[in-house]
Symmetry: D2
Subunit: 148 residues, 4 copies
């Protein structure tokens, strides 16, 4: 295994600030009978955007600021499979002037350690021009600070 | 609208025997901002197979009998969108010697009427030969009869 | 098998007016090692919308009229699997005042008969109000008539 | 933007050893009208596994060795959207005793520079025990060496 992969270690639940239940789907399992590596990123997207929407920090349809993804990463430690409900933990590792680094962990229900974890970096841009905003909207910043 | 589509009417929750919560995902929304028509079939697959597995009637990895889909259908009545949890209702409309017709309805949380509903037909086959079984396994038949 | 399923028969390539190549993906295969039933509907959506866009009849981002799906259906005859490129055949079976019935067939490269086929019904609506248009845009109607 | 993201730079086509065309799908576009970040990983999976299968180095159904993904990463530089055919470039950056690091780049048809690129690390395991193999199968090693 590469040195990069061997350095990665499962994280404890205590590393995350909030959690969201996500139900797995039949199609999450690939030909090898376990959740495909791609699906974890669907869960990351879902956990971050649902948290922002539920807390009034993102309006998909009418908001003027949207988050574009510029970097994603995931390490996988133990397999998951449909049918089970997983929990996705979320924390914010860095808040920049126009960007945010989210860290995400996926847990089987009874497990204390991540089955997989990773991060993604959102750059917040003006919905029309797609140019980075000069500063994050206040409501977004407040929601993010509760996740640090 | 075609005569076929205009005949379809939303169904009440009372038309279904059991329900399963499914969390929507960011990617369920398509470019028009609502859940794409394809995603409902992911939910159908998920509701049927999860019910069978939870009740001991299907073992994806070691079972000798698997269900192949030969027909699917869906009518759509009102839009759904991420983030929301939907409920999928399930009933069995017909049990044949090797086939089963499942009927499925998708409900928004507070709604009494289907946002969409449809059916799919499973033919149960031998996992190795992929030939239809001569009769459904007893445990499967028992689970199905509780859904009629 | 139900009478409905047993009535469905594979269709010849001659039943369709135009064809589009679609490359399969690793995730199209499900835990049973063949393309999952849901994926065919991704291909249907792709074939119809790509044809409309390529022929100037649909502008996802700026158009005032969009097609909402009110009914979908598919029958499956023989399995397909990644990696292979499939061909999706398209014809228009009915043009109403605001709705269109598309019929679609999926073919393995060398096959004359559908591995699966189905239909879906689009109702064209105003993008803002989501109310059906009183008549289809002229450019759309011209493209559709070439597919009948 | 974070320092990590700002360091990443688009790569030229010359950085990759072989290319594969992949047709985009309607559902690849998310609510913002561009290909969602998750979809790029579907393409990575597809490009690697199709190359291995086409060259006789992977047999999904009957092979005794399968590749499990332990790490994935992607940086995104410019948006892509359905309908267009993209090209995925592939090279092998490191061949270990049981693991391989694949590097992948996604290109719009006429572009010399990656719209996105990333890597993923496969650990090859025995299909039954899911334990890493002590050495890569010869046929796999030969195919991989042509990609370095």
């Amino acid at each position: 295994m590469t040195s990069s992969a061997s350095r990665a270690q499962a994280l404890n639940r205590s590393a995350f600030r909030c959690f969201r239940d996500i139900s797995t789907r039949w199609m999450d399992n690939d030909a090898y009978g376990h959740v495909n590596n791609v699906v974890y990123y669907q869960w990351f997207d879902t956990a971050v955007n649902a948290h922002l929407i539920d807390n009034g920090a993102l309006d998909i349809h009418h908001g003027e600021t949207i988050g574009l993804v510029v970097e994603t990463h995931c390490n996988y430690f133990s397999p998951l499979a449909f049918p089970q409900t997983v929990q996705v933990g979320l924390r914010v590792a860095r808040i920049g002037s126009s960007s945010v680094r989210y860290e995400l962990g996926v847990f089987a229900q009874a497990d204390e350690w991540t089955a997989a974890h990773g991060h993604f970096i959102h750059v917040y841009v003006d919905k029309a021009t797609r140019r980075p905003v000069s500063q994050l909207p206040d409501v977004l910043k407040q929601v993010l600070e509760q996740l640090t």
